[in-house]
Amino acid sequence: MTTLSPTTAPVTQGNQIPRKRLYGIVAEFHDPAALMAAADKVRMAGFRWWDCHTPFPVHGLDKAMGIKRTILPVLVFGAGLTGTTIGFCLQAFTNAASFSIWALVWVTGYPFLISGKPLISMPAFIPVMFELTILLSALSAVGIMFLFNGLPRWNHPLLSNKRFLRVTDDRFFIVIESRDPRFFASRTEQFLKDLGAKAVEMVEA
């Protein structure tokens, strides 16, 4: 397919060519099928620090890129259990305990006796426990998702590339970063061109 195989290039940070510091190379594609086929090949070529950028999640691209499933759901489950526990402790302490604890200030529980019901009235505690479970799970799902994604960050080298800005509209991109051990500017550029990219551009860091 190509004589300039990137896998035969010397493993280097690509500093042989005098130039400004590179963030990486972006390759533009016009439809999801072309992107998928190219992503397959980039993964097969052994790149690690690379990514696909799409206007919407493309079905099957995770597999083509070899992305492992995130552990997010496990963490969210933990957050949910925390919420349940907080919900129970909050109600049991404030409505049934007669001792003091330190929660920023010293606070004392108040054992409410309402029409002879038990102090720890579990059925009545369920709604608030449930709501706090949902609240903590939902907030942690979003918070951890953004944390793992390294967001929010308001500047990024890619966002300074005019062509790349159409990624949120109708274009599909593969980006290979210069920090990848297999990255070698000219060869990687040629490699991406050979994958059928409509345009290939260098992006400065």
Binding site: T7, D31, P32, A37, C52, N95, L159
Partner: protein, 512 residues
């Protein structure tokens, strides 16, 4: 590629519609009309926020809404500075318009969450056309709902007593009270709905950021787009988080109106003390919420030229849901009556007969005719797909569902156990002004949303287009369905290149 033939129908001059409601089991009906490129979707949605001036009707509606917000501000301040006596409440009727409005607005919100969460779990792709503004509707409705319990407590400055805040009086909320469950349910509902709405909007805000010409727009959209750049490693976690939010919001939305119904059902008042209330309230909430979505969608798609994205099929589907939930509500009304008779409880039986034939008979029959009889017209496809008729019917349903809450609350209280204390509730001008003002607040927020934010979930709509499927334009390799994918095997991969990608600073991006 393959799509159903769509024929033009001209119901009214100037209101041309493309009919995509025909069912053909062999072919998926198109959800995006007259567009086959992703860029067209972007442009059609973004032109609303990017246009220099909105249509004249927007200004007119905004002026009316803003005037009503002024009225709301006046009425609320008058109430706070004078006391709850300015409302028409009397001794047996301690709850009236305030709680009616609260339950009404919380109910309106439910359709948004149903569309964004439950229809997502059921893989209903048509939800993508309407979910964004239905979710916005949810948030604004819950804001309106939250206002009423806040101001009806009498001493508004002590509203913080609702929350378990450590204080020097060692005073805590009473967690065995459904009213306190309500505080937690509604505030959780608002927070989670807001997060769900915002997370869904981040990729679309990035679209607006990347298209923005002016510095202010670039900054404002850029701030809230959080630096989103469509990375597939991000999309992966994003989709998992979105699925989790949908799965968490589904029990949440069902719990919220259940908890609201506990405010009544857990008490001993005849007419309130019924076990049917939680499912009955949830069905009613979805019923009224969908009616409100249609009420908002019809003018919005007309005004902002979004008919190709909010198609007749979307409206038809929503009208079907209104029909189903309307039948559930009708069933609940009749079952309440049956149980009142069957229970043999004297007070319960009186409460229901009194509801239909007592001093509030007119409210009861407005409720029945609006909520049970009117939606039955949606059995006819010609009515489900007629824009003016569905708009009128949905307005009727909105009115009916407001009256449902009024009937439940006021008739049960006005004629309680002791006939000597019976009374009749008459709203004052402050009651009326606050109710109208809440509609103004809702309208103002919704109009601002339509003007400045992406009204349709662009990324999600694009993903449902047939062109978004890699197989559509011939991607064969790496097929999920087990076909051989040899044709696309790269010829240049050396054996050591096929090692599985590692993780961490040297082996590639974090795999978390």
């Amino acid at each position: 590629m393959s799509s159903l033939p769509v024929n033009r129908q001209t119901a009214l001059p100037g209101f041309q519609e493309t009919d995509n409601t025909a069912e053909n089991p062999g072919v998926r009906a198109p959800l995006v009309l007259n567009m086959d490129r992703f860029g067209q979707v972007t442009r059609q949605v973004c032109q609303v926020a990017e246009s220099k001036k909105p249509p004249f009707a927007w200004y007119a509606a905004f002026a009316v809404s803003l005037a009503l917000v002024g009225l709301l501000g006046f009425c609320v301040n008058y109430l706070i500075f004078t006391g709850v006596g300015v409302w028409g409440l009397n001794n047996p009727v301690m709850w009236a318009f305030d709680i009616t409005n609260f339950v009404f607005w919380v109910g309106i919100g439910h359709a948004g969450t149903l569309i964004s969460a439950i229809l997502f779990l059921f893989r209903q792709k048509w939800r993508t056309g309407i979910n964004r503004f239905a979710e916005a509707m949810t948030i604004f409705a819950v804001i309106c709902a939250g206002l009423f319990p806040g101001i009806h407590v009498g001493r508004v400055w002590l509203a913080y007593w609702l929350f378990p805040i450590p204080n020097q009086m060692d005073m805590w909320p009473q967690f065995r009270s459904p009213l306190l469950w309500d505080v937690f349910a509604v505030s959780t509902y608002f927070t989670v709905s807001f997060v769900f709405w915002f997370v869904g909007m981040v990729p679309d805000l990035a679209t607006l950021r990347d298209r923005a010409k002016g510095r202010i727009q670039q900054f404002a959209y850029g701030l809230f787009a959080l630096g989103w750049r469509g990375s597939n490693r991000h999309w992966h976690r994003y989709e998992v988080a979105y699925l989790l939010l949908a799965a968490l919001s589904t029990p949440l939305v069902l719990s919220v109106h259940s908890v609201v119904s506990f405010d009544f059902a857990v008490s001993q008042v005849p007419g309130w003390h019924t076990t049917i209330f939680p499912p009955y309230f949830v069905a009613g909430a979805i019923f009224s919420g969908f009616a409100m979505v249609v009420t908002l969608a019809v003018p919005a798609r007309q005004l902002f030229g979004l008919k190709d994205l909010i198609t007749l099929r979307h409206l038809d589907n929503m009208n079907k849901i209104i029909l189903v939930t309307g039948c559930m509500v009708g069933y609940a009304y009749s079952m309440e009556f049956f149980i009142a008779w069957y229970s043999g409880a004297m007070y319960e039986r009186f409460a229901f007969v009194n509801r239909a034939f007592g001093q509030y008979w007119w409210a009861y029959w407005i409720m029945v005719s609006c909520n049970v009889i009117t939606p039955q017209l949606f059995w006819f496809k010609s009515i489900r797909t007629s824009i003016p008729i569905m708009f009128a019917l949905c307005l009727v349903v909105n009115i009916g569902m407001w009256f449902e809450r009024f009937v439940i609350i006021v008739t049960s209280l006005a004629n309680d156990f002791l006939p000597t204390s019976w009374d009749f509730f008459t709203p004052t001008w402050v009651d009326m002004g606050t109710m109208m003002g809440a509609f103004g607040l809702f309208g103002t927020l919704f109009l601002l949303f339509c003007r400045y934010l992406p009204m349709i979930a662009m990324a999600e709509v694009k993903a449902t287009m047939p062109q978004a499927n890699p197989h559509w334009s011939g991607y064969e390799a790496h097929d999920d369905h087990g076909h051989a994918g040899g044709s696309a095997k790269p010829s240049f991969a050396s054996p050591d290149a096929l090692r599985s990608p590692g993780s961490g600073p040297d082996g590639g991006p974090s795999a978390l």
